[in-house]
Symmetry: C2
Subunit: 205 residues, 2 copies
């Protein structure tokens, strides 16, 4: 039975499920079960069924889930059947790698704007996409109604860039700078800090 208040931790697992389904589909598999999915992800089958039950009934007793159908449903839930335009700010080594990364296209995203503050980079192109002056960020992002950005600028510039984005109407930010960004209610932030991940693992070594 669909609920109006799905826990965020459940939302966080949906992309993981989608990624696993995608992998199975790529291998030609057509059907899976909560048990198989759980085994592969290190999650209990009960949790997977419970998670999915927040949104509806997608399986069949006795057989399991049609992979293509479940993929479609989760994509719809996460709103990634459509393609979102994303702006990328900061075209250093990492920004460059992100800009050239081919893995966004068929998972719901497309980088359509690049920004940097370095005059030597502004006006140059990556895969035919021009690097724009970050001074024009607010204006352009607002005009294009961009809702999602990735921030790959140095730590000391990250909050400032985030604030600009927020003023321009951005609602989701993926931050690569090693600093916790603050944002008002209604604007979501995800942090991707490799060192934090590594530190989390060294505890157990």
């Amino acid at each position: 039975m669909p609920s109006s208040e799905v826990p965020d931790i459940v939302i966080g697992r949906m992309p993981i499920y989608l990624r696993a389904l995608r992998f199975m589909a790529a291998a030609g598999q057509e059907i899976t079960s909560s048990h198989e999915l759980g085994q592969r992800l290190g999650i209990s089958s009960a949790q997977i069924r419970k998670d999915l039950s927040h949104f509806g009934e997608f399986g069949k007793q006795g057989t399991g889930y049609r992979i293509s159908h479940l993929q479609d449903q989760i994509k719809r839930i996460l709103k990634v059947e459509q393609e979102w335009e994303v702006a990328l700010i900061g075209i250093g080594d990492l920004g460059h790698a992100i800009a050239r990364y081919g893995g966004f296209a068929d998972r719901g995203f497309r980088i359509t704007l690049l920004f940097d503050s370095d005059p030597a980079k502004i006006g140059t192109r990556i895969d035919n996409l021009e690097i724009l002056d970050v001074a024009r960020l607010k204006e352009i992002v607002a005009e294009r109604r961009i809702k999602i950005v990735m921030i790959a600028v140095p730590a000391q510039a990250a909050q400032q860039v985030a604030d600009l984005c927020i003023e321009a109407g951005v609602k989701a930010m993926l931050n690569y700078a090693p600093i916790t960004l603050t944002a008002p209610e209604g604007v979501r932030v995800q942090h991707s800090d490799p060192v934090a991940y590594l530190q989390r693992m060294t505890y157990y070594l």
Copy 2:
């Protein structure tokens, strides 16, 4: 009172605390409180005090925490007062960016080995570090007793590379490929999939 079984979710927040303390220290601040830290991170002050209490008593009633002292303590807890050698496998755009990233050094990690399978890359150097043949990964990683790797190879090669690493004695893997890796008990895996993060946010848009 230090406990022998600290929840993993608490371990996961420690690097976040460390990152915030680092930021405050860089700004010249010497003292902080659970309230200030919590405000900055969007976490309740009670949670921060509770988290820290798993490991000991690091503050002073009435005044708060000496930032440098708390940093030292958390570094010790996470075992990052020392510097860990890290191997990086897959020197594409992303691997290249990671290899050149300067943010590891003073947070407990140093990339000392680079691997790729492309003959055109093998033998070339990035910042004076030679790219080695992935065929020699198992041998070299085992001999050097490397415990931590970052995997930045294409999705279809990631599990195979992970298996090699595990055989070589690796205990912690940070995976950038968009696939959930499986590893035996005792080997920790963290996934960094930008698309999964983005998908998690689009739900709320």
